[in-house]
Amino acid sequence: MIRFLVVRLLSGALVVWVVATLTFFIMHAVPGGPFDTEKKFPPEIKRNIEAKYHLDQPVSIQYAYYLRDLAHLRFGPSFKYINRQVQDILLDTFPVSLVLGFWALCWAVAVGVSAGVVSALWRDRALDRISIFAATLGISIPNFVLGALLILILSHRLKLLPPALWEGWRYLILPALTLGAGPAAYLARLTRSSVLEVLEKDYVRTARAKGLSGFTVIGKHVLKNSLGPVVTVIGPLTAMLVTGSFIVEKIFSVPGMGKYFITAVTNRDYPLVMGVTIVYAVLIVLMNFIVDLVYTWLDPRVRLD
């Protein structure tokens, strides 16, 4: 177990460093700089700004500064949001995305897995067809269309929920529904096919032949053994959901960090790009680690070492 932890920690750190380094050099290679603006200012002003942020130094020196800051868990000052450190920006916005992503994940897993199981158990019956149709819709409808539909129906027509802003739990419902819809549909399809596959296994047939009740067979033998692929997907899915979505946060005016995956790049705000990338990479590594632990519980044949 200790060996496993050490190996995973080291390999995780290596992955994060590779991601951070690649992102750093790719960002610096992209044409256009953080202080290229429509209204060009005189060259001496540009020199002053570049000196302030060490952009007048060779890229290798900037990389050294960057690694030094990273070693101290600092990402440096944002180029766009003056006098704000990137870690402060992330501390302000990540918890918002985390809350939103958590609830989106909860409903996606609850609805997606349940729908998948029901669909598989009642294969080719009405419930299955409805579930497949809903899942296909959920995967096909872009979240900006779904978001707009929910606003029109639940906010404008029925006046049940606020259309946007972030003032309390009622403001969480529409964005969480929108954000979780695609993953719920995907999980439903994945669960269905996985359950169908397990239902064909010999040990399920044996359990039934031994006279176990349907509930016990499903609950004890089928469900647990069919969750492997679902758990595999839930790892990176969690990282994706809790780091926010540009579209959903924009539509519902949620002050999360999802927008920075786009705006930090368009602004060439290098420290902020690095910040969100590293947070995402760390979460992916962490979630994959947790998934590996969950595997050992689901399938005792899997050993950590």
Binding site: D36, K39, P42, E44, N83, T93, G147, P163, K250, S253
Partner: protein
Amino acid sequence: MTKSYGRFLLLGLLLCGCLSRSQPFTPGVLRFNLLTEPPTLDWSLAADSASIWVLNNLMEGLTSYDRDLNPIPALAERWEILEGGLRYRFHLRPGILWSDGVPLRARDFVYSWRRLVDPRTAAQYAYFLYDVKNARAINSGEIRDLEQLGVRALDDLTLEVELEKPIVFFPSITTFIVTFPLRREIIERWPESWSEPEHIVTLGPYRLQEWHHEYKLVLERNSTYYGPRPSLDRIVFYMITEASSALTLYETNSLDFLPQGSVPSVAIPFLRGSPEFKSFPYLGSYYYGFNVKKPPVDNALVRRALCLAVDRSKIPEILKGGQIPCSSWIPQGMFGHNPGIGFRFDPERARQFLAEAGYPGGRGFPRLTIAFNTDEGHKLVAQFIQQQWREHLGIPVELNNMEWKVYLKELEQDPPQVFRMGWIADYPDPDNFMAIFTSSSGNNHTGWKSREYDELIARAAVEPDREKRQALYDQAQRRLCETEIAILPLYTYAQNTLHKPWVQNYPFNAMDLVYLRDVRVEAP
């Protein structure tokens, strides 16, 4: 993708008949869409409209604008112009207090201006003070002693400014946020966080109460404000970037005011006629620039033909945003505007000039590319121009769109044959528009340099006689748009806003300045 969302939502709103519903409001509280997070509230460093909108309500300068954008006294109750305009002496109003009760002193301006031009501050808008003696030399590091800057406090209430040249629009410069006073002791005590609500001190009509980053800013009435009692108790600036979401919140009465940039362009045709919708000119112009060093637009006859072959009157139908077609560069509503300058649509003459240039009927015309940054509106304009040049001149035109920063880099390093650009006024004086095409300007991407033009602009900047000044700008504009033709002006921008009936006395102006001191929120 978000544009698609906007169209989809708007269509739904219209089908639901939601655009006419009304709900209660809170008297004395204005909910205003700021669109985005202000990058900073440090007014030496602010350079974007969101920051400027907020700061113009937290602070004031020596001067301010009246509704016609003429500079009027603000923190300075009067000023003297000495030595033929080379020296300005501002007399501050007595009794002005900062929000912590400390009196305003002339040295607060001296500190602020020195900080602005200090290279270590790295302020983008430091060049606003480049006409002050030694400002540029200090900012470029040639002079290290900040005390050499041409500004000093003669006493607590008198500020004297020495200029490099007698520019006539200096009282407009002192309306701008970067010239506002600063409290040295506050900044030195909290250098990184002095502009956060817990530390900031201001002296405008409102004070900063709350700043929930990326979400909202809350201002409340400043009880120490020197002027008339501000009308609003609170202002809530929400940062809603998606225009369609802002419209949804407006329609559900969660917002009272949608400023310029916040009303979705697809909604404008449906909103026209509503008393809540207001469209009016903006001191900003949109143009196509020619790189006069690249063939075939290195030939003035070709440029003339291209200008004459565009029927600008169709642009408002295409963009649907209330744009005002214009053939000259200084925008409508600004001193110096002359609608008689520039080329009118005349396809016959255009073809003649093209033939004279060696391309009769467009035959043998080399490939021409229009470059623009990726944006739906810019694309529509480019497609329109492409169609006009094809139809009237018979020439092949290609379009090339680029991501914004890539585009800016391209303009800096290798400007395309034809490129789109625009300019929005920093101050309501033609110098702000005309100086960008001088030989030394970094904003002149055309490659065109004219000593005569430069001289005209320099003379106009210091000419106090309005008639003579107008004549100088007319001459300069003719060179720019008619004889030497570095640019093809297309239209003046329009501002499109939405405000609830209970938002009253809003000072709409052509510079999109948000002064909320006298705005009232009360039953109509």
